[in-house]
Structures are given as structure tokens and as C-alpha cells.
Symmetry: C2
Subunit: 188 residues, 2 copies
Amino acid sequence: MRVYLAGPDVFLPDPQSRALLLKQICARHGVTGVSPLDAPDHEPPEWAALPLALRIARRNEAHIASSQALIANLTPFRGPSADAGTVFELGFMRALGRPVFGWTNTRALFLERTLAAYPARADRAGALRDADDMMLEDFGMHENLMIDGAIIAAGGRLIARDIAPEARWRDLSAFEECVEAAARSLFG
Amino acid sequence: MRVYLAGPDVFLPDPQSRALLLKQICARHGVTGVSPLDAPDHEPPEWAALPLALRIARRNEAHIASSQALIANLTPFRGPSADAGTVFELGFMRALGRPVFGWTNTRALFLERTLAAYPARADRAGALRDADDMMLEDFGMHENLMIDGAIIAAGGRLIARDIAPEARWRDLSAFEECVEAAARSLFG
């Protein structure tokens, strides 16, 4: 059972060690973690001519397509939302109709996180609007509704834990709980 | 030819008027713009029991699945990246193997936008790292490489124009150029 591990973990100082750690946790629960850093088994020869960034994008898409499920690190990344690449990959797997799961190292909801960074005021109808007059989503979700919606519709789980900011890119307890839930669901 | 119009435009003060405007521009170029706000033709009766946010998520997925292409408003939204829901939808359509296009009202690249909001320093290997020690992507792309990569791999176009900040959620010249490019490509 191959599970693609989406997340900004690839931007950490030692991404290979991190990938190994994530894979070891997956193995403990009987699933094969697939990292964006994994070398592809084989790839179309014409990809060799692509600029590196475009080749990585193709490889990641191929990794996702060859996995049976996806687990996304949705810990907020440089702003109220998760890393854009991670969110793209979640949408990609959802469209393939396979289970998607998420974990995040904060229990603060999307609205609360957005308000902390972008001051807002209520308009006449009571909707919260930022300085650009753009409405803030107020649905009690962890992320933009497409993300929570996809995970729920796919029968997945979104595990949120409150981890101190300084340990937010290190602590893997929410990840392990998510892997456990995914394994239960995939083998159940 | 149905083209799904992904974007945070739904958060504008008058989203219905905005949707109408986008659709009129599409119609001028011979394509049918599909808005996230469109009422579905029919939907599974069990969706009626879903909380509104989850129902919207299902509807948007259905709108995308019933469209032949997608155009995403990638103008940075509350941070260096595009709106998370928009990025999710781009990934969703890419996985369906259909053409995806993007437009953005700034020509500043992803690295430049990230640096403007998140101070960084070069590590020993020369890679730029933020205060959390997370690497900044430096590939000369408009967005995270999954996004530029998907648009290029799908044969789409990413149109970027420099629009003054105060007109960034109003100006539709980059959108119209994108619709024109999409129409040429879809009918060509």
C-alpha cells in the first residue's frame, strides 16, 4: 500500500533524513510512504531535457498517480494556509478518487489563523472582510473549504494537534496519528 | 466548451456581478465560463443534508469535473501564494488530464514575493532559508513549481501583468488575455 507524503517537509534543512523518518513511521503501520524526493522507477526519456523544476513537478505527479492514498502536512506555511504545492497535490489525488488525509501542528482554525495575520471588520451583512474587502471564510474549518471538504468526502481524516511554534516543523505525533488512522481505514 | 473559473473572486463584495463579468468575457471568446457560484443542474439528493461548506466543496468538484478546461486566478491572496481553494482546484483539474490556465495581476515572481514577506538568509550551500529554516524555492517561477509545472505540462498558459495593488482585485485585462489564449488553444 503506497501512500504519498505531501508537505513542505522537502524544504527542511535535511529533507532526506526527514523523508526517512516519515517512511519509518509509515512502515511501523504497515504502509509504504512515498516521498517527493524518491527517485522514480522509470520515467519518460524526454523528461531528461526538462528544466529541473518542471521535471520535479512531473515526477511528483507520477508519484501521486502510482500511490493508493495521500497524507498531506497541512501545517500553515508562510501565512494562514498550507503550502501551495501540498494543496495542489491534495487536489490532484482527490480527483483520482482515492483517499486523502491531512495533519497539522496547530488546532487554530482557518478563520482564527487568518484573523491573526489579516485584520478584518464586519460588513453590513455581518461577513468579515479584510483590508482588500475580501471575505473571510467562517465555516469552522481547518482550511479553505475545498480542503476540509475533500478529506471528509474521501472518507479521510484531518488530525490537528497544538504543537509549540518552535517544534512545529519537527514534531511528528500528529503525523503518526494520521498514518495510524489511514492504515486503519485502508486495511479496514 | 465549458471552462471552470477558479479564484478567490467569490470573496469579493459582489461576487455575483463579478461572476457575470467573467462569464461575459468568456462568451466574447466563444467559451462558457463556469462559476463556483453556479447552481448545479442536478445533484445527489443526499447532498442536501450536508453542512453548507461541504456541499459547496462537492458542487465545485462537480463543476470542475463537468468542464473541459480550467482558468485560475493566481493573484497572490493573503501571502505570497494564490488562494488555497484555487490551487486545490487547479490540481484537481490537472489530475483529470484537461488543460489548465492561470492569470495573475503581478509579474513579481514567487521568490521575490516570498522574500518581500519573509526575510531570508543564505545557508552554507547558498540556499535561501526563512526564519523557520525552511528553504525558499528559487526556480524563476510564478508560483510553487507544482503550479507552473502543471500549467506548462498541460499545454496551458500563465499570463502575468503588473497591475497596481489598488486595482489588483478589479482589473481583468490579464484574465481576458488568458481566456483568449485558452480559446485559441481549445479550438485550435
